[in-house]
Amino acid sequence: MEKKTTYWQENLRLIFICLTIWFVVSFGFGLLLVEQLNAYRLGGYKLGFWFAQQGSIYAFVGLVFWYSAKMNKLDKKYCEKGS
């Protein structure tokens, strides 16, 4: 029982980290801070504009794979033994 609780706590911690990044790259960099970031450039892209139309999407892809890999490790650690 306790094992299950720790598993869930660790999952929640991971989700919290991922969703924080999710929020920062899209709503943060792409929307709320867009004007400040637009002062910098990435090639021909204004940086804030790049986050809104390109960067946030790449970050989402990375996040889902990272979460998935981390969770696979957690699954092995907590759930393989027992039955």
């Binding site: 709320l32 999407i57 696979n72």
Partner: protein, 578 residues
Amino acid sequence: MDELKLYTYIAVFGSFALYFAIAWWARASSTSEFYVAGGNISPLQNGMAIGADWMSAASFISMAGLIAFLGYGGSVFLMGWTGGYVLLAMLLAPYMRKHGKFTVPEFIYDRYYSKTARVVAVVCLIIASLTYIIGQMKGVGVAFSRFMEVEYDLGLGIGMGVVWVYAVLGGMKGITYTQIAQYCVLIFAYTIPAIFISLQLTGNPIPQLGLGSTLADGSGVYLLDKLDMVVTDLGFKEYTTDNMGGTINMFAYTLSLMIGTAGLPHVIMRFFTVPSVQAARASAGYALVFIALLYTVAPAVGAMARLNLLNTIQPEAGQNLEYAERPQWFKDWEKTGLLKYEDKNGDGKIQYVADKDANEMVKVDRDIMVLANPAIANLPNWVIALVAAGGLAAALSTAAGLLLAISSSISHDLMKGILLPNLSEGNELLSSRIVMTVSILIAGYLGLNPPGFAAGTVALAFGLAASSIFPALMMGIFVRKMSGTAAIAGMCSGIGITMLYVFQHKGIMFIPGTSFLGGMEPNWFFGISPNAFGAVGALVNFVVAFVVLQITGPAPAHIQKMVDNFRIPHGVSAIHDH
């Protein structure tokens, strides 16, 4: 028949033949195959199928055009329609797969131990899915009439027939394998023209990099800077900073699309087709890769098409194109009524400016940006033919997924689950096929006679998914104590406030003249447009559910135990009927 038409027929009917062959090979023989493809799809295959399922006629045909005219404001669609998959992968899909049932309303029924909750979920699902299908059916009709010069009605009929064959025959199994083929067709059709155009404009074959590169004309000016300069010269808002309705509106809009995406049942259902919780997480990742492939190309297509269009009309500042010298594609699209020119000052030249009184391009339909793009860039005929097949693949694959969501919720949730619990598997299978046939007929009828509210209903589909389905599912997983009474109260108030807001600004059932507050922006709550209101509805749903939970007490112990069980992937079983 000219060469282009011949290629188009080959591309379109060749792709149909492929779908039929797949449908015959993958026909379903049990309810498990019909609803969840036997639960045996690999994450990679499922990711592709989700990509096709998700990317509709709107993503393929309209989105780049929307971005072309909204500029930075169009980012809400890019972030909103991809960010939802992060939520799906972490908050919903793995746990719902672990629970192992066939449909979304069935999950809600088990979790909230209430037939009322199940019926509310079915109703939301049907409204959201049906409104979506109308758009796909219209897309099919439009693609046929534009590219093959077939009557809209006949084109729509052919599309209905094609979907009927592979969806009714194959169920989820047939749909899954055809969606994989359709994904390949649509991504190929979308990126090939984009690569050519990026190469022409910037010398860089990768559109995502081309958009951030300098122009190939030797000026050394960045493409986006040039675009900003050209549009502001003509009096339009600057492309890279034009924020649609202000930051709060864009924020709410993006959030609504994200949670709406995560709450759309036809997408969630696809996660029931994989063999394990790990596979459910992985398929969300693959799906997002396949979706991102189109979604990161779209802003390049939009910006480059806008620049091409403006450069055609005004090759150099102050030197406007003579109307008599307009290119062939211009004439072709004038015939369809999607481009309209009116020589207001009588000088025979084309003035395309932001000022409504001086503007002579009285209509530039945004869909042209994708449909005419290959022609504007002078691409070979086989590329143009591909676009037709790609648009049809996008519309048909989404329609099939939606039809399955509707038919499974009626035959499995309403009939087997509530009205006729003793229905045998064979009869349930038969009834799903009949329900699906009827749904196709209804969708076709609505596509032929689009109700006046068709345009406004996409907002409703996302609003419903965001304000009812997503919060109910999320709380069901993450709040162990959440009770049925509280969840139903939350769902009903979420839907209620969203519908009220949409209707009060857009008219009751979208009938013009019945909107009691009018469509006027000053009346918008914090400047949030009706399309962006789903996020507020979701917030209301959460708050009401928690307040009611405090008053009425937590869910029974066996339900809390069930929640504990589906939070843990251990011992994942094959998908089963109860």
